[in-house]
């Protein structure tokens, strides 16, 4: 749902971010990650590599984990985007946040938003994943601090919490 705005060279983009409608006029070349960080001010989405390798910029676009450094903002027009800022449920931790905290699944915190969002998408599809399935699901993302083992545990912890309440 993009349309040319009155400002030359820009397009109006309307997206739903964390349940809220947001609109802005953007350059066609503006990357989604910059739109999220600069235009919307949601700085929980990070940039780590510029080449779609590290996944620090991962957000959910219509529920699908997407590296927002490799998508233009205009391509996201009309979609529903979830960023880390949208994870809290009624002011309380989403099970994935509780899991990461409980299992020491984060150290510097830079990869954490992307890791959590990919995990949320995995658990929506597969509520009872094996460790190997978790490792495969997050294999598009790099963590330099934890060695992944505690991230796998964190996702299992979240899965158990979600199974209990579902």
């Amino acid at each position: 749902m993009t349309q040319t705005t009155s400002e030359p060279g820009t397009h109006a983009v309307e997206v739903t971010v964390n349940g809220e409608k947001r609109a802005a006029g953007v350059e066609p070349r503006l990357l989604l990650v910059h739109f999220i960080r600069e235009n919307l001010g949601l700085t929980g989405t990070h940039i780590g590599c510029d080449t779609t390798s590290c996944g620090a910029c991962t957000v959910l676009v219509d529920g699908v984990p997407t590296k927002s450094c490799t998508m233009f903002a205009v391509q996201a027009a009309g979609s529903e985007i979830t960023t880390v800022e949208g994870l809290l449920q009624n002011g309380k931790h989403h099970p994935i946040q509780a899991g990461f905290h409980e299992e020491h699944g984060l150290q510097c915190g830079f990869c954490t938003p992307g890791m959590m969002l990919t995990s949320v998408a995995l658990l929506a599809e597969n509520p009872n994943p094996t460790n190997e399935q978790i490792r495969w699901a997050i294999s598009g993302q790099i963590c330099r601090c934890t060695g992944y083992q505690n991230i796998v545990k964190a996702v299992q912890n979240a899965a158990a919490r979600m199974r209990e309440t579902s």
Binding site: E27, R29, L30, R37, L42, T43, G44, T45, H46, I47, G48, C49, D50, T51, S53, C54, A56, T83, V84, E85, L87, L88, H93, Q97, F100, H101, E102, H104, L106, Q107, C108, G109, F110, C111, T112, P113, M116, I134, R135, W136, I138, S139, G140, Q141, I142, C143, R144, C145, T146, G147, Y148, Q149, N150, I151, V152
Partner: protein
């Protein structure tokens, strides 16, 4: 051990998690100031070239560009060059020549980062390419081009010569040996690559003159002093703020040209300037690690190691910018005797300029300890295979014995404490070593190649005693300031800076242990130089050994003042009181007690006559010695005879880092290090073609393991407290990166050792293994 206050030994969950879980951390790139401009750097495409001209006119004319900065402009402000941490100089923006690919040549400051990047394309630089020097060997060739031709008196590419140990005694040991084993190996250039690149926001207030620089800094106080020296700004008008840091691993220790140019730009333009490096910039221009070409020799008498001799050539890049104590030109490489009682040792190191990025930092390591640990642990394995003795047995026979501590090493270290056989035996037991050796033999008969690799490392961390350790002249103490408020809550301010290590939790636990304030009630503050006591920063596993000690000491000092106040409240003599967990009580009358909270309130409301009000203080801790963490890592791999791929089947790590403050966080550090160790052994490589083009300039070429490749880890621990550290802790953040690469490589070599294979060069990629399989007639 205390319980309610959650002091030492409790795996409490981290206090710092909450903001990161909500996406509310504040990393440098998250900082947005009113009127802020954006800066991008133009980098050299050549490794070595003379700059004939730089034409910025087209870039400057682009709408939205505010300024284009060149080396010439920087030179007008005497800022074209800056000092390095190793006493050399480094170009901020190139003027005469470029000396490595990726070197900073010009900068654009614009209203947006996109415009700034557009403008970079419009800067016309005329280069005259020169031959590139890409190894120490080529740097020494008689016809090698002189890289540092601007340095007075520099006639070749040699930087330093350094020696440690006793040459004559070592020669005698070798003369008397009945066997000498040698190993020549290159610890390749790799890169710490924290997930967050480097960057800053420089904000010089034109009205007040105050320079506030938000930067990715592992050492904000040292950086403030260096900024004062480099930029000529008065130090009290500089405030460095190191906000949340997305990993450091040594990469955020040096001062980079981008910080300096952004600061100069803010000063000249009167507006805040943000510079955020991209990944390629990070990989090709900032602090790399290792790049040591090493030759090692062990002298043996039977199964006893009687001497060690090693020489190395260090590939330093275009500017000598190692971040290490000034007295030690090869860092702490002379810890190379490792865990072994070797009576004689001699180390020779030479450094060379090459046309590569500068800034030899210790990638998750204490000043070149990783290279040393790798060399000795590889050499011992080569010796075991040559002598025909089990590598575990050879290690156990040659370990420094527990009763020999404090142990004086042949190269001058005094190891504080250790029990190497205990850690090794635990690792072997967890692994089921004897059984595994049988399984390996059986597998071999069936045509499968299993390998078992061991490494029994000793680190030297916690720099360091002021008499021997300084960075650019600054002694390597560290500090802690504790303020206990009237209601018993406290703020602890430190001179170090966490990059994910969990200081906000562990240092609060030290306070809890020592003065009884629950860890939840202690806020830990770091990173803002206006607001914290001076310290040298977080790297080289020094936070717990040095700032942790400072925290314990200041807590104890305040507890002694608290005793006086408690005595006043309980109307008894201070000596009549005993301390337990969080309170003083009267000896023999435990019901007469005052908690630390009671005392804190009294410190502001009801003091003994003549006592100074308040309950706060600062301590600067000069460690009496380094600490020496150790352990044994054991790796089992299987090698695919068809492809040369190798896969770790098991990784057992037994660490002894002295007393553990928060075991959960300690284990997190170890697993992170084991992964980076695996990365270095298996895939991480910064290399260059003969023209000096960097191969490994993005995450598609510079390979980092994901969850898919990374093995599972099995951890174990022994605890041998440091006798000189107030709480017996030794530091643990880097043990696994230091110790584990040799274990992985030893395992792959071990899988092929029966066919005469003795070594592989890191990274041990499948093509190298397949080549060896093929030569040994083992390839399928």
């Amino acid at each position: 051990m205390s319980t309610e206050v959650r002091g030492l030994g409790h795996s409490v969950k981290r206090k710092e998690d909450e903001r990161f879980l909500r996406g509310k951390g504040t990393y440098v790139d998250d900082i947005k100031l009113p009127g802020m401009l954006h800066m991008e750097l133009l980098r050299s495409p050549f490794a070595h070239a003379r700059i004939k001209s730089v034409d910025t006119s087209r870039a400057a004319a682009l709408p939205g560009v505010v300024a284009v900065v060149t080396g010439e402009l920087m030179a007008q402000h005497s800022l074209a060059w800056m000092p390095t941490l190793s006493g050399d100089t480094q170009a901020v923006l190139a003027t005469d020549k470029v000396r490595f690919q990726g070197q900073e040549v010009a900068a654009v400051v614009a209203e947006s980062a996109y415009i700034a990047k557009d403008a970079l394309e419009l800067i016309d630089v005329d280069y005259a390419p020169l031959p590139a020097v890409t190894s120490p060997e080529r740097a020494q060739a008689p016809d090698a081009p002189l890289i540092r031709d601007e340095k007075e008196g520099q006639t070749d590419n040699h930087i330093f010569h350094w020696e440690a140990g006793d040459k004559e005694a070592t020669e005698r040991a070798f003369a008397e040996a009945d066997r000498v084993v040698t190993l020549d190996t290159h610890y390749p250039r790799c890169h710490p690559s924290p997930l967050e690149c480097c960057g800053c926001v420089a904000d010089i207030n034109p009205a007040t003159g105050k320079a506030t620089i938000y930067m990715t800094s592992q050492a904000p106080h040292a950086h403030r002093t260096l900024f004062a020296i480099v930029a000529g700004l008065p130090e009290h008008m500089i405030r460095i703020v190191s906000p949340d840091i997305g990993g450091g691993f040594g990469n955020k220790v040096p001062i980079y040209p981008g910080y300096v140019v952004a600061t100069a730009a803010s000063l000249l333009l009167g507006r805040p300037v943000k510079w955020i490096e991209d990944r390629t910039g990070n990989l090709i221009s900032t602090g790399f690690a290792r790049d040591y070409h090493m030759h090692g020799e062990l002298a043996l008498k039977g199964d006893r190691i009687v001497g060690l001799r090693t020489s190395l050539e260090s590939d330093e890049g275009a500017f000598y910018a190692d971040a290490q104590p000034s007295k030690f030109r090869a860092g702490l490489f002379h810890i190379v005797t490792g865990s072994y009682d070797i009576p004689a040792a001699h180390v020779v190191a030479d450094g060379y300029y090459t046309n590569k990025a500068p800034g030899g930092v210790a990638y998750r390591c204490s000043f070149r300890v990783t290279e040393a640990s790798y060399l000795i642990e590889r050499l011992v394995d080569v010796a075991a295979h040559e002598v025909g003795i089990d590598p575990a047995e050879l290690r156990l026979k040659n370990f420094i014995k527990p009763e020999q501590f404090p142990y004086h090493s042949a190269t001058g270290f005094v190891y504080d404490s250790g029990d190497y056989p205990k850690a090794m035996n635990l690792a072997l037991e967890k692994l089921g070593y004897a059984e595994l050796r049988k399984e390996q033999a059986k597998a071999r008969e069936e045509g499968r190649l299993l390998g078992i690799g061991l490494a029994s490392f000793t680190e030297v961390v916690g720099a360091g005693p002021g008499k021997d350790y300084d960075i650019a002249g600054l002694r390597m103490f560290d500090s802690a300031e504790l303020r206990v408020h009237p209601t018993g809550k406290a703020i602890l301010k430190l001179g170090v800076r966490s990059q994910g290590q969990g200081h906000e939790t562990t240092f609060a636990q030290i306070v809890a242990e020592e003065i009884g304030i629950p860890y939840e009630d202690v806020e830990v503050q770091e990173g803002d130089t206006d607001n914290t006591p001076y310290g040298l920063g977080t790297y080289a596993s020094r936070s717990t050994p040095v700032a942790g000690a400072a925290t314990a000491v200041i807590s104890r000092k305040l507890r002694e003042k608290a005793r006086e106040i408690a005595a006043h409240l309980l109307e008894c003599a201070p000596d009549d009181l005993e301390w337990e967990t969080d309170r003083f009580f009267v000896k023999g009358a435990p019901e007469r007690s005052k908690t630390i909270q009671d005392v804190a309130f009294a410190a502001y409301t009801n003091l003994p006559e003549g006592m100074e009000a308040g309950l706060e203080g600062v301590h600067y801790y000069d460690p009496p010695n380094m600490t020496y963490p150790f352990g044994t890592y054991a790796v089992v791999v299987e090698v695919d005879r068809g492809t040369g791929q190798w896969k770790p089947l098991r990784v057992v790590a037994v660490d002894d880092c002295g007393v553990r403050i928060n075991p959960m966080i300690v284990e997190g550090q170890i697993m992170g290090g084991l992964t980076e160790g695996y990365a270095i052994a298996a895939m991480e490589l910064i290399t260059f073609d003969e023209d000096g083009n960097c191969i490994g300039s993005n995450f598609m070429d510079y390979l980092i393991p994901t969850a898919w490749e990374t093995p599972e880890f099995e951890l174990g621990e022994t605890v041998t407290p440091s006798p000189h550290h107030p709480i017996g802790a030794k530091g643990v953040g880097e043990s696994a990166t230091v110790g584990s690469p040799a274990a992985y490589v030893n395992a792959v070599v071990d899988a092929l050792a029966h066919a005469g294979v003795r070594t592989f060069e890191m990274p041990v990629t499948p093509d190298k293994v397949w080549q060896a399989l093929s030569e040994a007639g083992l390839a399928e």
